[in-house]
Every structure is written in structure tokens, then in C-alpha cells.
């Protein structure tokens, strides 16, 4: 059996809007093995969610995949017929959307929505589907699930809606889960419970999980590999422990430095990366990070840095950090 479940090569997804072409995803590459948990981290607006939606071709009308390759378990996801894609989406791949309201309809009770979803994908009676739904709500830690089956989404708290979505996503026993910020609305105790549940699905059922998060603590706790995105591109991709021990891209450094730490002594001001994120209509032809990067050189504004394997399994896209040349973190004025 092939170990690899997902391969993404140089994926590009653009939005064609009245104000111009937004290159939301502009060169993303990674691979995932079966039973792996991979994390995607990166700045807000860097294209994490659009990457995830592109994998299963769930894009709004204005967006389209313009280049690249997505191979899921032998299927060429860009070319696969719609009918087959729909089947895959329900039975093999589940997506937990960042915005709960993409998956929850405000005018229907959550129980009815769950039962309908379960019955579209599984051959179950109304009764059995009801029981499955209650059991799933229980699994994600919703107290008195039977009473809550009757609730409309606005009658639940933010974190409860998020958990309903997770319950829906796992109710059809998918083998691949895309989880876009699945625990942002949860307190740490419930979060731990949900992460434990996802881990259990991986350990016991071999489910592969692509997890988008901005919580590095979750990455350290959950992920096998990590991809860092900036301005629509993959800037770094490696094993989790490697990213912690030896991060190489200047953006990754900025990201790690701005994380508030509980163990650290109090500071007046948190470190943030100065400057603003790039205008995605203007990116391309350069390193997306160049105008905020303290290590920037002339070439950075002129050429796209290629994604280079600088050590086994460790890919970085930076002109000054490509194996031949190396940067020292924190020393801004070093020579090439």
C-alpha cells in the first residue's frame, strides 16, 4: 500500500475580483502520509483556508485553481468528475470549516442537520442516525446532548457550535480530516478533550489529519509535520521537532518570536513583525516577505525564492537560506 495519501505540487488558486486578481495561493507544495497529522501555520490572510478548500475544490465562484497538482489517494483532484468528488467529500474526506456558519444553517435545529448529514452518507434509519448524532455530541463534550438536539445554532455558545461541527465531521468516519482552526473557540480543557479525540481517531483508525492552526502549542502537541505559509506561498515545510529546534525562514523566526509564552517573564509589549501583510494582487516575481524581512537583499525583490530542500525533509523558500548560503537568526547585518 502506498504510504502517501496527499501530494500537493505548486498549487495556485486565484480570486478574480473587481479590484484585481488576488493570488491567495501562489505556490504551495507539501506531501502527507497516511496516519499523519500535519499542521499549517502562517499569518492571517496567508492562504491557509483557501489552500484547504482548494484540495477538495470547494471554492467560491470567483476563485479557481490556476496551476498545480493535488493528488489524493491516487485521485487527481483537479480532474476528477464532480460526482466522484462529491462522494469523496462525504465519505472519505471531511472538512471542519473555520467559519461554523459554513456548515450550520441558522434556521434548522442542530439535531436535524446532523441527522440529515449522517443519512446522506450512511445507510441508516432515522432512529439510528438520531442515536449516532447524540453519541457524537456526547463525544465532543456537549452536556445533555438529547436536550441540545433541539437547539438552533444561535442558542448555543461559540464553542458549542464549533463542537457540533466537529461532531458532524467525524460522524461519517472519514479517513482524511481537514480541520481549519478547529479549537479556536474552545477553552483549554475542552480543547484538550477534542485534540485527544482527533489523536485517538488517528491512532486507532489511521485517520490522516490536516490541521490549520495559529496556536503553536497545538502544533507542538499534535503534529508530525508542519508547513509555514506566508503571502500565499509555502515558505517552510519540515518535521515538527525540526521546526522547533531549527527553524530557518525569517518569517518563521518572526512568528515564533511573537508567540506570548506563559512561562516567560511579563513584558510591556509583545514582539510583532513590523509592517503589514502583502497586497495579494501585487505579489509574485519576488519573495512575498521581502518588504518586512530584516534580512532582505536586492535579489529578494526581484526573484521568487525557490523551495529548496536544505537538509533531508526540510524545505525552505528563501534566497539567503538555501543550503549554499545560511543566515544566522537575529544577526541582521550579516554578509552573504
Amino acid at each position: 500500500m502506498n504510504d502517501q495519501i496527499l501530494q500537493v505540487n505548486n498549487l495556485k488558486t486565484y480570486f478574480f475580483t473587481a479590484s484585481g486578481t488576488a493570488k491567495a495561493v501562489d505556490g504551495v507544495s507539501f506531501t502527507m502520509n497516511r496516519g499523519q497529522i500535519m499542521g499549517i501555520v502562517g499569518e492571517s490572510g496567508s492562504g491557509k483556508s483557501v489552500t484547504a478548500s482548494s484540495l477538495i475544490r470547494l471554492l467560491p465562484k470567483t476563485g479557481s485553481i490556476v496551476d498545480g497538482e493535488v493528488i489524493f489517494d491516487g485521485h487527481d483532484m483537479r480532474r476528477i468528475a464532480n460526482r466522484e468528488l462529491l462522494k469523496l467529500r462525504g465519505s472519505e474526506i471531511s472538512m471542519i470549516f473555520q467559519d461554523p456558519m459554513t456548515s450550520l444553517d441558522p434556521v434548522f435545529k442542530i439535531g436535524d442537520q446532523m441527522i440529515e448529514l449522517i443519512r446522506t452518507h450512511k445507510n441508516l434509519s432515522q432512529q439510528e442516525a438520531y442515536r449516532t448524532a447524540v453519541e457524537m455530541l456526547h463525544l465532543v463534550g456537549i452536556p445533555e446532548p438529547e436536550s441540545r438536539m433541539n437547539a438552533y445554532p444561535h442558542e448555543l455558545s461559540g464553542g458549542m457550535c464549533q463542537r457540533v461541527i466537529i461532531a458532524m465531521a467525524i460522524s461519517c468516519q472519514p479517513k482524511f480530516i481537514i480541520a481549519d482552526e478547529p479549537t479556536t473557540a474552545l477553552d483549554v480543557t475542552v480543547q484538550a478533550q477534542i485534540l485527544g479525540l482527533l489523536k485517538k481517531l488517528r491512532d486507532e483508525m489511521g485517520v490522516s489529519i490536516l490541521m490549520i492552526t495559529h496556536n503553536l502549542g497545538i502544533v507542538w502537541e499534535m503534529c508530525d509535520t508542519v508547513m509555514v505559509m506566508y503571502g500565499g506561498t509555502t515558505v517552510e515545510y519540515t518535521e515538527m521537532a525540526q521546526l522547533y529546534a531549527n527553524p530557518l525562514h525569517p518569517y518563521t523566526w518572526g512568528l515564533l518570536d511573537s508567540m506570548p509564552r506563559l512561562s516567560a517573564p511579563p513584558v510591556e509589549e509583545l514582539k510583532a513583525i513590523p509592517g503589514t501583510p502583502p497586497d495579494l494582487r501585487l505579489t509574485g516575481g519576488c519573495c512575498a516577505f521581502y518588504n518586512r524581512c530584516p534580512y532582505m537583499r536586492e535579489i529578494c525583490a526581484k526573484e521568487v525564492p525557490p523551495l529548496v530542500e536544505v537538509e533531508p525533509g526540510h524545505l525552505v523558500a528563501c534566497h539567503r537560506q538555501n543550503g549554499d548560503k545560511t543566515l544566522v537568526r537575529g544577526e541582521v547585518n550579516q554578509d552573504d
Binding site: 480570486f15 475580483t17 479590484s19 488576488a22 502562517g42 499569518e43 492571517s44 490572510g45 496567508s46 467560491p60 473555520q98 467559519d99 461554523p100 456558519m101 452536556p143 445533555e144 436536550s147 438536539m149 433541539n150 437547539a151 442558542e155 448555543l156 455558545s157 461559540g158 464553542g159 458549542m160 482552526e181 479556536t184 473557540a185 474552545l186 477553552d187 483549554v188 480543557t189 475542552v190 480543547q191 484538550a192 495559529h214 496556536n215 502549542g217 497545538i218 507542538w220 502537541e221 515538527m240 521537532a241 522547533y244 518572526g254 512568528l255 511573537s258 506570548p260 509564552r261 506563559l262 511579563p266 513584558v267 509589549e269 509583545l270 514582539k271 510583532a272 513583525i273 503589514t276 494582487r281
Partner: protein, 336 residues
């Protein structure tokens, strides 16, 4: 908290605040049941301080915030602001007060009107309250606000769907700040943001607070964020405050068993830190129906016989440190 902040009279006094919701019964013909979202919260809020609020998902944090800015009317209790009980005011009497009490919402998706451009969204409150009548000046105000939250002129004329989650949340923050309120309830204002933007927004909150002597209620699940931003912290569980003290104290000297469990569930600062987790076993209690005893009794590792019979009051257990737990005092909560 710093002495001078405590010294003043409170800007807001919350007294025994309760909020009930009626929920439909799961079986036909049965009477509706009562959900106690808040069951008696008392708090003082001092001018210029940040009160952090943490607690289990569904414990009533957003409800507390909404009651405070009078988006929803509490079932019982008082909220004293400038000597007036907001709960007793008519809607028209509330209007001038509303400008001074703002809320930044939890869900960055549904809180922005899809038909409004960024500029329209941010200037709307100015127009409603008749604050800046000159449209050119208004544009400048909006742009300045946008820049403060890390967006720019290129984002002015775009619609919410063209933004990522984090970008939308920044627009929400700008929208609340533009009215220059006195008290802001921030309901997970940075949960949807990546750490670097999070750092920017937190720094922004701090600098605005210093400049305008703002008072914040800051709801967050991220304990490192809470530690960084708060002067005092309230820990909530199932509709009540179970612990209240200075921000440093909560991390150094947590007293309530729920607080202890919460602290031990924090994701690690590094991949090599495998903390011993203190998990709460047992069913998460439901806010539906009446409860006797301490809300944590069913899951508490330190439970005593009295805990399931009586409800502990929130009492001072050392100077400036309050907890609602029979381990520290025998006083019970007076249900009226």
C-alpha cells in the same frame, strides 16, 4: 492589579446578575425547561483596568458580556454604571450609554454585514451617533483606525467575503474602537488571529487603554494572552465566577480546583514539555435545570460530602483573592 486602579470607585458594579433562557423540551407536550446561563454573578470593574475572563466553553462568558453592554436584558440582578442601574433603564434612556459601552464580538464571520465595505462598516457607528459629519474627515478617521489594526487603504473598499478570518476580526476591532468608548467588552477578540497579528492587536489594545484610560473586560481562552493583558482575572464555571484575583496570582497560586485543571491543560510552550495533565473526569454538567451544590462537584478531584449539598459563595480567602470553594471557607451561596 496596581494600587491606583483599585483605589478608585468601581466604574461598573455587577450585583447578583442572572440570565435564564427557556428551552424547548425534547419531548412533545412537556413544558419548556430553564437554562441558567448566568446564575448570580457579582463583580466590580475599576476604571482603567483589564479584567480577564476565562472559563469553560458554554459557561456564560459571552452572555455576561452581552448583558453588560445591554445587548440582552438580564433576568435578575443589577448593573450599576455611573450610579445608574442599566437593567432598569428604558431603551431610549440607554442610547447615550450604549456609545460608551462597546463590544468586540467572538465570531468574526457573522458580525460583519456582507453588504458593507470595510469603510462603510467602520464609519457606520460614527454616522449613527452623529460624531463626524464631514465625509472627508470621516474617511481619514477610518483610514487611521484601519492602520492601527494593521490594515491599509487597499482594504477600504472591499467586502467581508474578500477577507480572511483574521482580517475581518481586525475590522471588528476598528469598528468598536472608532467610537472611543469607555468600557469595551472584548469577546475573544484575538482568537481568530495568528500570533503575530495577535501581538499587534494586543499591543494596540494596551496603548489605547493607556491613552484613553479605557476599561476592558477581556474574554479569552488563551491563558497566555489573558496573563499578558489582564490586571485581574475572573474564572467562570457553569454560570458563576469561581475564582477572582490578580492576574499573576492566578498562575502562581491557583486555588479553585477548576482553575488548577484549566492551568494544567494549557498546550505546551515546546514539543519537549510533556506536562502532567490534571484532567477532570466525569460528565460536564448541564446548565439546564436547577443545580444543588457546587457546580464542579461531579468532576472535582477534591470533592467533599458538603460539595454536593450546598453551594459555595465567592469569598475572600486571602487579600484580593476570592474563591468559591468549600476547601477554603464554609460560607454558602445565598439563593434568594
Amino acid at each position: 492589579m496596581t494600587e491606583d486602579k483599585m483605589a478608585g470607585t468601581p466604574i461598573i458594579r455587577i450585583k447578583n446578575l442572572k440570565k435564564d433562557y427557556k428551552i424547548r423540551s425534547s419531548k412533545l407536550g412537556q413544558p419548556p425547561r430553564v437554562l441558567h446561563a448566568l446564575s448570580g454573578v457579582s463583580l466590580d470593574l475599576f476604571q482603567g483596568e483589564t479584567l480577564g475572563v476565562i472559563g469553560e466553553s458554554g459557561c456564560g462568558k459571552s452572555t455576561l458580556g452581552k448583558c453588560l453592554v445591554q445587548l440582552t436584558r438580564p433576568t435578575a440582578g443589577e448593573i450599576l454604571y455611573n450610579g445608574q442601574n442599566l437593567c432598569a433603564l428604558s431603551n431610549s434612556a440607554l442610547k447615550p450609554v450604549r456609545k460608551e459601552l462597546q463590544m468586540v464580538f467572538q465570531d468574526p464571520y457573522s458580525s460583519l454585514d456582507p453588504r458593507f465595505t470595510t469603510k462603510a462598516a467602520i464609519e457606520e457607528p460614527l454616522i449613527i451617533h452623529g460624531l463626524e459629519r464631514d465625509s472627508k474627515k470621516r474617511r481619514e478617521t477610518v483610514l487611521a483606525m484601519l492602520r492601527e489594526v494593521g490594515l491599509d487603504v487597499q482594504h477600504m473598499d472591499r467586502y467581508p467575503h474578500e477577507f480572511s478570518g483574521g482580517q475581518r476580526q481586525r475590522i471588528n476591532v476598528a469598528r468598536a474602537l472608532v467610537l472611543q468608548p469607555k468600557v469595551i467588552v472584548c469577546d475573544e477578540p484575538v482568537s481568530a488571529l495568528d500570533v503575530s497579528v495577535q501581538a499587534q492587536v494586543l499591543n494596540l489594545f494596551s496603548s489605547l487603554q493607556k491613552r484613553h484610560n479605557l476599561t476592558y473586560i477581556f474574554i479569552s481562552h488563551d491563558l497566555s494572552v489573558i496573563k499578558h493583558i489582564s490586571d485581574r482575572v475572573a474564572i467562570m464555571y457553569l454560570g458563576t465566577v469561581v475564582e477572582l484575583c490578580d492576574a499573576d496570582e492566578i498562575y502562581q497560586n491557583p486555588r479553585h480546583p477548576y482553575t488548577k485543571a484549566l492551568l494544567s491543560a494549557i498546550p505546551p510552550d515546546s514539543p519537549f514539555e510533556k506536562a502532567q495533565k490534571l484532567t477532570l473526569s466525569g460528565e460536564i454538567p448541564s446548565p439546564i435545570g436547577d443545580l444543588t451544590g457546587c457546580p464542579l462537584a461531579g468532576r472535582c478531584p477534591e470533592r467533599m460530602p458538603v460539595c454536593s449539598q450546598k453551594r459555595p459563595a465567592l469569598k475572600e480567602i486571602s487579600p484580593g483573592h476570592r474563591a468559591a470553594c468549600f476547601l477554603y471557607h464554609q460560607e454558602e451561596y445565598a439563593e434568594e
